[in-house]
């Protein structure tokens, strides 16, 4: 088994001569990533080229290792606004020309951020790779952040904030995160607020975004049918040659903005968001979870699958199939660099909200006190194996996976290691991790809907906060 971090990568001015080719895992090919080439260019930009021959399409992802955690207090939304503006104007192309350049190839540019990174990506035919790379390169090197486009994007983001309010489940999740992290770090919405967006000026957005766009903090993933086109005699036409030609002139160096991470706050808490206009109550029962780097994330995911991750899970069976309490009932895990969350979600009529929460907590309690059956463990393992295979089904799936591996410094043999952990995880480990994570001390319950009269019913589950 080969660990990507231990492999040799070379710095190169002309990358073609210095690339390192290798297979990334030694066991069952099902759990191996396809052949990947890693290259550092002279400007420290790292490129990862992955061969996937499922379709005549290539996915290109340029990711910057810095996201909205670097937004200063009162300027929430700054990174996201800047990211979206990247595709809205350079010194030689206005927003329409950029859109046209991509869309006449049947492609569109996605530029956005999350708490931990900024990403610009494009998905296009192999034959158009040169044009796609040149376009992305132009956007990161020469964006102008035009004032008129800033207003357009700001308007869009403010409308998006309103649109989210029409989705009670999204409101509940946002409130859960905000309460869990005390309104800081991961608890602050990437989109910001109407007030914080209004406070942002063009100069502030341009300066902040330019400070993020440093090739030493960036990496590029190209995934598609590269192999048949990679010949030593046609370097200039190869993916590597095209990457090098497009990005070697990208220069920048600036100090990294400060990150504003904060640990989860203790619970238990119950947040009642009163929305008398709604006919249902959306429920989130959430807990502070584990980091993506935590080796126990796989047992935790198995626990979540058994609890509510599938259509035969305990929650689905007890609360949907048996009692008809909710249509959409699930549990899931989110993993981040410095933490994560476990979320159990459902929606039910106002009269049955307490019953739904009671049922969820009873199943959580059962998972932390009673070992799952062998059949449950086998089933979770089997489903998880299929999920792992789906991570590499297509070129764009693979590009996302390789980008995540690179961003988080995960081992190149991630799938192989995950699969081995999966096979080694037994019922005792699942109970142990459930007991560690699903504790009332890190539990936040959020209800969104007609909740004005619910405080008496819910106070037994934590400190009530009414909104």
């Amino acid at each position: 088994m080969m660990d990507r971090r231990l492999s040799s990568v070379l710095f190169a001015t002309l990358a073609a001569s210095f690339c390192s080719w290798r297979g990334l895992a030694s066991g069952d090919p099902k759990w191996s990533l396809p052949r990947t080439t890693e290259v550092f260019m002279s400007n420290e930009l790292k490129a990862l080229l992955v061969t996937k021959e499922d379709a005549p399409l290539v996915t290109v992802i340029l990711r910057i290792r810095q996201g909205s955690l670097s937004d200063p207090e009162g300027q929430e939304g700054l990174t996201e606004l800047g990211a979206r503006l990247l595709a809205r104007g350079t010194s030689s192309k206005d927003a329409s020309a950029i859109a046209l350049a991509a869309e006449r190839m049947g492609a569109s540019i996605e530029a956005n951020s999350n708490h931990e990174h900024v990403e610009i990506s494009i998905d296009l035919l192999w034959n158009d790779l040169r044009a796609g790379l040149e376009l992305l390169s132009e956007l990161v090197r020469d964006s102008e952040f035009p004032e008129v486009e800033l207003e357009s994007v700001r308007t869009q983001m403010k409308a998006e904030l309103r649109a989210v309010q029409e989705e009670p489940d999204a409101v509940a999740i946002r409130r859960f995160r905000s309460v869990l992290y005390g309104g800081t770090g991961y608890g602050r919405p990437v989109l910001g607020s109407e007030a914080s967006l209004d406070a942002l000026t063009r100069d502030r957005v341009a300066a902040h975004t330019r400070s993020l766009l440093d090739p030493s903090r960036a990496f590029l993933v190209v995934a598609g049918p590269l192999r048949e086109h990679e010949t030593p005699f046609e370097y200039s036409k190869s993916a590597l040659g095209l990457v090098n030609a497009s990005f070697q002139g990208w220069r920048s160096s600036s100090p990294a903005p400060e990150l504003r991470h904060s640990p989860p706050r203790p619970g238990p808490m119950v947040v009642l968001v009163d929305r008398p206009d709604l006919t249902q109550i959306d429920v989130v029962v959430g807990y502070a979870g584990l980091s993506r780097l935590d080796p126990e994330r796989i047992p935790l995911r198995m626990a979540s699958l058994i609890l509510g991750g599938t259509s035969s899970s305990r929650l689905f069976h007890a609360l949907r199939s048996e009692q008809g309490l909710s249509y959409d009932l699930s549990s899931s895990c989110s993993y981040r660099t410095h933490g994560g969350e476990v979320q159990i979600r459902g929606a039910t009529r106002p009269g049955t909200a307490a019953r739904l929460v009671e049922g969820i907590l009873a199943e959580v309690d059962r998972l932390t006190t009673e070992a799952p059956s062998r059949e449950e463990v086998d089933r979770a393992r089997s489903i998880y194996e299929t999920e792992l295979l789906a991570l590499t089904e297509t070129g764009d799936d693979l590009a996302d996976l390789v980008a995540d591996i690179e961003e988080l410094g995960l081992p190149a043999a991630l799938l192989e290691e995950a699969h081995a952990t999966l096979l080694a995880t037994g019922k005792e480990k699942i109970v142990e991790i459930a007991r560690k994570v699903l504790t009332p001390e890190h539990r936040v319950i959020v209800l969104v809907g007609p909740t004005a009269e619910l405080d008496k019913e819910f106070e037994k589950w934590g400190k009530i906060v009414k909104e």
């Binding site: 927003a95 049947g106 259509s311 009692q323 299929t386 295979l389 089904e393």
Partner: protein, 442 residues
Amino acid sequence: MHPKSNGSSDPARSLAELLPRLATGYGTRTRVTPSRLPNGLRILTVTTEGSPLVSLQIHVAAGSRDNPPGKSGLAHCVEHMMFRHPEIDFDLEAENLGAMANAWTMPDATVYATDCREGVLGRLLELERVRFERPALVPDDLRAELEVILEERLQSVDNSPQGRLFETLTQLGFPDHPYGIPVLGVADDIRSLSTADCQSYLEGMHCPTRMIVVVAGPLAPAMVEELVRDSLGKLPPSPPAPRFTAAPSIPGVTDVHLELEAELSAVSLLHPLPPADRLESSRALATAELLATLLSWGDSSRLVRRLVREERVAYDVSVSVQEQDLGSELLIESRAVGRSSPLHLRDRILQEIGRLAEEPLEPDELERARVQLTIDTVRSLRTAFGRGDLIGSIALLHDDLDRGCATREGFLDVTPDEVRDLARRLARRDSTVCVTLEAKEK
């Protein structure tokens, strides 16, 4: 034909042969092999290499349009009850195999889709045979499932301004026709559904002659045919009940204004298009696809560029074509920004479409839309599920797969005059229904 088969097979075709202009990049490695079993069941094996994932899909030619009067929601309820077999827990058994099952109901069809790994197909097909053998449904199971469906309705319609807008629009767009009745059903009808209703629907509608089994993945067609023959091939042939076949009447120009507690005002327009199950409609539908693309595919499309990016009156805008057997529709949906009036938004949409009708197209505008639709198809063929879904939905509409596939490429030959003619009719609002939603302060 497979040596053990009692059915009939047609020659395998490569995807590049079936969709020569849309799937060329896939070469000849992806092959579609059609066959039919003696009980009337059709099989389509879409063979690919690479990923070990398999998509098993059963496309049933029965949907909400086939609900008897007063039994709205029945087809959808039956789809739910197919997961409540009295003898097997389908979800549990499938998930034991690492497979994940889903299903959805549409006006014309119902699809049961399971994504799995190679090696478990035979056991999954056996599970499908058991649940398609029309079990005696248990009243208590139905009672619990109806509660789930009522929750689903609350979530997607009653609790959602967009859901209510869409439901109003389709009711007006297809007056006195099953297409105008919500697939989920109305609450009172849902509550009244019985096990007898479900059994009767299953008997008449879920019969082998109405079913197409699509298997997409790295599998040999002969093996797939054998596995299907040994499972679903054992379903007894039965005479299908007649389907609802009356064409919808063309709606008059209708405007309805809703005031709802919502964050964003919105507008939706529905323009009737010809039925999708006739080859002679294919040109009109291809024209509509191309027009929809010109209007709302990406930031350079006419409506997005003008209304979202430049004038900032719309948060989003989408134009789509919903192909339906008895009468298709072109849908325009847009949400307003800030205090923009939905009536103003409607007028601006229609003005822009009017401009398209009256002014020459930009030099590469039509070509761009053709490329975009082509690449969208190429993208949809990336996954086993996508390949199965595309081929299955074409086969459901057209017995002759070659001719059905040919209709999918029709947009490549549509002329600017045809696009402008449709735009003209839209701008004039010929038979177009419009619903505006005014967001009321909470």
